[in-house]
């Protein structure tokens, strides 16, 4: 302890590491750093999970099918494999969608080839073809996509040639596959990359229809959890900004196909979608900006970025007007809650961007972030994109296809001249840039990648946060110890939390969580206080 009674981070870390076998400690130590926002500290991320250590992470199939493709309503997503993989990814994320006039929505469905013994022995291509045919006959969808699970990769079914064959056969239905076997890569992240590649190859750029609008943007890495996208769509509409496509919250095939007609890509979740943005810039000349609509202040900041990109006085005026109006409401609401949340503490261990984005909301509540980390992010999401050239490509990343992208001679259009770009940059607009989480976190706070059970348990014990944010897998174990856990993947079945209205929802939600009296009931009155303190003294 230091003189203020706050445990010293270095000691906590040593303590945690001391319980690991030496080899594991050596490896884990690099993934657990004590932050210094100014000096650039390297964190180990996107490395394999150690067998036998319980991880938050899922597989690349989960990242591909569940995360990126899951929120698109009008693609029939067919899992090629035994039943479990498909079943478990069936509506488990809380993406919402608003089917258009055609009502086409396959999200409540779980399609699987449900492979049996004989398919494993003799191959499953025939079954796959028949399943695609049946799905086509029943639904006549615009697109069918195939997702390979682990066993499929090993028996060598060629899903891509099946896709080509079926696509030609149908003529009016796009069929394409994702080789996203769960053993590829080290986490969901590999699946995001695979999903990005195939979306880009098979959908983006298929339809040149330009539906008009002066300010045309795509929103990338927004998945409409809890209805976030609905709020954002409304916000853009109110500002006269045309949202061409969202990757992939509340999205449709047509949106993806027309996305190359937008003039700006705005990235929310950098981890899961930056590949598409990079490829679109290369091929179609669309620049990208990092934005964040989680947090009222961050929303204001992001809107200003978009306005300054378009250099339009009317748009800028509208944005400023909206910010003034909305911020007044937000502040009014916050005023009442703030005294109850101020100086409370939080930890966030989740995903590949949320652990960063949500810090803004907690800061608005006057709360302090003691520790944070991602589940499947890479070093650039922690340290900023400037470290990209120094990241070593290991075997696990090498097996994910890097597609070669070239300028499209017909469809490439320069959105900004080099001079315009330079001028915007001189005004502070940063293109193709993400600073990562660590620069915005307090000195001496913990940054931990792919946190294990043991590590979170120790952090909770020593730092006693008022709230812990993670996923459902962590929820009940943390709550057993008397700390509320907020599920950040599913919004704990609440939300929306994006934009200005979302921020207010979040303030209220967190107020309820950190100020609930239920934890006080854990101790039964007949257990005498004396004996507890005695055992505490003994333990320390």
């Amino acid at each position: 302890m230091n003189n203020k009674g706050i445990p010293i981070p270095e000691i906590i870390k040593d303590n945690i590491m001391s319980k690991y076998p030496a080899k594991v400690a050596k490896k884990r130590s690099k993934s657990m750093v004590i932050n210094d926002p100014v000096a650039s500290i390297e964190i180990q991320a996107n490395v394999r999970t150690i067998p036998g250590i319980i991880t938050q992470r899922g597989c690349s199939y989960a990242g591909c099918k569940g995360v990126v493709l899951g929120p698109t309503r009008d693609i029939v997503n067919l899992t090629h494999g035994p039943i479990g993989c498909g079943f478990y990814s069936w509506l488990t994320r809380r993406n919402q969608t608003q089917p258009g006039p055609d009502g086409e929505n396959y999200m409540p469905y779980c399609f699987s080839t449900d492979m049996q013994d004989e398919n494993i022995v003799f191959g499953g291509e025939k079954k796959l073809k028949e399943a695609i045919q049946e799905a086509y006959d029943i639904f006549h969808p615009k697109a069918i996509s195939i997702f390979s699970t682990c066993p499929v990769g090993l028996i060598g079914d060629d899903i891509h040639s099946v896709a080509v064959e079926m696509k030609e056969k149908f003529g009016d239905c796009n069929v394409f596959g994702f080789s996203c076997e769960g053993y590829k890569g080290v986490s969901q992240s590999a699946g995001h990359h695979i999903a990005n590649n195939q979306l880009f190859k098979h959908l983006v750029g298929n339809d040149d229809t330009n539906t008009g609008g002066k300010f045309r943007i795509n929103l990338l890495g927004e998945y409409n959890i809890g209805g976030d996208a609905f709020l954002l769509e409304k916000m853009f509409e109110d500002l006269g900004i045309t949202l061409v496509a969202t990757f992939s919250g509340n999205s449709s095939v047509t949106q993806f196909e027309r996305s190359h007609t937008a003039d700006l890509n705005c990235i929310m979740c950098h981890r899961s979608i930056n590949y598409v943005a990079e490829m679109m810039e290369e091929k179609y000349g669309i620049p990208w900006l990092k934005v964040n609509f989680i947090g009222a202040e961050s929303t204001a900041k992001s809107l200003r970025k978009i306005a300054s990109f378009f250099r339009d006085d009317e748009l800028s005026a509208n944005v400023e007007k909206m910010i003034t109006e909305k911020m007044a409401i937000v502040k009014e609401q916050l005023k009442e809650i703030y005294p109850r949340t101020e100086n409370k503490t939080a930890m966030l261990f989740v995903g590949g961007s949320r652990a960063h984005h949500y810090q803004d909301l907690f800061k608005e509540l006057g709360m302090k972030i003691l520790a944070a980390g991602y589940e499947f992010a890479h070093r650039d999401d922690y340290e900023g994109r400037e470290v990209l050239p120094t990241i070593k490509v290991d075997a696990d990343s090498r097996n994910i296809e890097e597609i070669k992208v070239e300028k499209d001679p017909a469809k490439y259009k320069e959105r900004l001249s080099p001079e315009e770009k330079a001028s915007l940059e001189s005004q502070g607009l940063q293109f193709n840039n993400y600073d990562g989480m660590m620069k915005e976190m307090d000195p001496k706070s913990f940054v931990i990648d792919d946190i294990s059970h043991w590590e979170s348990e120790e952090l909770i014990k020593t730092l006693k946060p008022d709230i812990f944010c993670a996923g459902i897998k962590e929820k009940y174990v943390i709550q057993k110890s008397g700390v509320p856990l907020f599920q950040m993947h599913s919004y704990d079945y609440g939300g929306p939390f994006a934009g200005f209205e979302g921020a207010v929802n979040f303030y209220k939600e967190i107020d309820r969580r950190v100020n609930t009296k239920v934890w006080g009931l854990m101790q039964a009155p007949w257990k005498k206080e004396a004996s507890i303190s005695a055992s505490l003294i003994k333990a320390s």
Partner: protein, 453 residues
């Protein structure tokens, strides 16, 4: 009318089956001080944890040997050994349960050899029991995995021994509250028993004073090793294949009689349990249970007017479907459609027999069905109620039919772990739920809104 799929369908839409290692994981959770590891890629373990946690609302740790691409090609021996080492150093369990996944089965990984090697290489260490269960999901579903694992446990831990005045009960996939109910029934008979796998505490525990790496509770290794000294076994399944039945194994190897009983939902099925217990313990049914039975009969007659003649569609795993159909018939409702994702041919004569007994047409028996097939069956039928898991919600909403949730998974209602449906008591609480649902419907539909029903 017996329906297996008319046209064999290659695409499964909204399956009724979960995968085999999930069943294995639930079974391992019922073993004291046990850690399960799934041999394959980490995604399966993560998904299975996620589903179990959502259902039970409890912590569930399942490790993985975390295959990577080269493991998938060259075999998972090193990863598995490494994983076991790490589990031991973190959790120090008494039992490590290994369930294989589709991936390790597909590459034909020789896991028993790895275990032998591991035990040879680490002779200096005090190793936990290592139990292997082979659970490829392209051959079987969650029920299969659940029973296979029980069988693997007794195969591994039991040896010939003197018989004692004791019985063993192998349970089905029921709720923690159901397990507690079952234990109460057994205790009322005042006779020694072993229940496995007992996940009533591990998957439905209290808050913790201090951190528990492995939640307390479960059937211990010692108890399982004494299973072969039981005089009789009760196995709560009438559908499973003999090859995966732990009771049949114990009969073949140690000549212990195996009484296969339905999951005790309803008077008849619970009576069967009572009769078996009377026989085993050589006593008569204790007064408290007899009183419960009388109260239940009383409730049946009181409930009659609300539910008589209501037509029901039942969806679940084989044994659950049978017991629910039996109960539903007892209270005067009609199971119109009985559907399961499994392929239990045995269900056909069993359900036919119930229909004959209660004089209604044989229900549509749908084997190897997915929710989408069931939905199409229901479309043309005039049913009043669906009984199924949370996965039946989509069709219930679409068809505007009420849904009572039983089975696995239940993730859109609170309290799956506390759901009581077995024994006379459990049947009564299930009956209450059904009756109240129909009263509610009646109230909602009536403009006056009578409060006295």
């Amino acid at each position: 009318m017996i329906k297996t799929k008319e046209l064999p369908k290659e695409v499964t839409v909204n399956s009724c089956n979960l995968c085999s290692p999930l069943g294995a994981s639930i079974a391992f959770k019922g073993i004291k001080n046990c850690m399960a590891i799934l041999h394959g890629s980490q995604g399966c373990a993560t998904y299975i944890r996620r589903y179990m946690i959502a259902h039970f609302r409890e912590p569930v740790d399942i490790a993985s040997s975390s295959f990577t691409e080269d493991t998938a090609v060259f075999g998972g021996g090193e990863k598995l050994k490494n994983g076991i080492d790490n589990i031991i150093s973190q959790y120090n369990p008494e039992v490590i349960g290994i369930a294989t996944s589709c991936l390790s089965e597909t590459i034909g990984d020789d896991v028993s050899r790895y275990i032998q090697e591991y035990q040879k290489e680490r002779t200096a260490m005090n190793l936990p029991e290592i139990i292997l269960t082979s659970t490829p999901s392209y051959n079987g579903n969650h029920e299969t995995g659940f029973f296979k694992t029980q069988r693997a446990l007794v195969e591994h831990l039991c040896s010939q021994q003197e018989k004692t005045e004791q019985f063993t009960a192998f349970i089905n996939i029921i709720s923690p509250e159901d397990i507690r109910q079952l234990k109460e029934i057994f205790q009322s008979f005042n006779y020694s028993y072993i229940l496995m796998p007992d996940f009533s505490d591990t998957l439905d525990g209290g808050s913790w004073k201090e951190f528990n790496k492995i939640p307390p509770g479960g059937t211990s290794v010692d108890e399982i090793s004494r299973v072969s000294s039981s005089k009789t076994n009760i196995e709560f399944s009438i559908c499973i294949n003999s090859k995966i039945s732990p009771g049949d194994y114990l009969f073949e190897r140690f000549n212990i009689p195996n009484i296969q009983l339905p999951i005790p939902i309803g008077i008849k099925a619970t009576d069967q349990l009572m009769t078996a217990l009377e026989e085993i313990t050589n006593t008569t049914i204790p007064i408290n249970l007899e009183n419960q039975r009388r109260r239940l009969i009383d409730a049946y007659s009181d409930a009659h007017k609300y539910i008589f003649g209501k037509k029901v569609a039942i969806i679940g795993h084989g044994d659950l479907v049978y017991s629910l159909a039996s109960f539903i018939s007892e209270v005067g409702m009609i199971p119109l459609i009985c559907s399961t994702g499994g392929t239990h041919e045995k269900l056909i004569p069993l359900l036919t027999q119930i229909a004959e007994e209660y004089h209604y047409p044989v229900p549509q028996i749908c084997l190897d069905y997915d929710h989408d097939d069931i939905e199409s069956e229901l479309e043309g039928n005039d049913i009043d109620l669906i009984i199924g898991s949370s996965k039946a919600y989509k069709m219930a909403k679409k068809l505007k039919k009420p849904l009572i949730r039983i089975g696995f998974p239940i993730h859109d209602r609170f309290g799956a772990a506390a759901k009581l449906t077995i024994g006379y008591q459990g049947t009564r609480s299930l009956l209450n739920e059904i009756v109240n649902l129909f009263i509610q419907i009646q109230q909602d539909e009536n403009p006056v809104g009578y409060t006295y029903q």
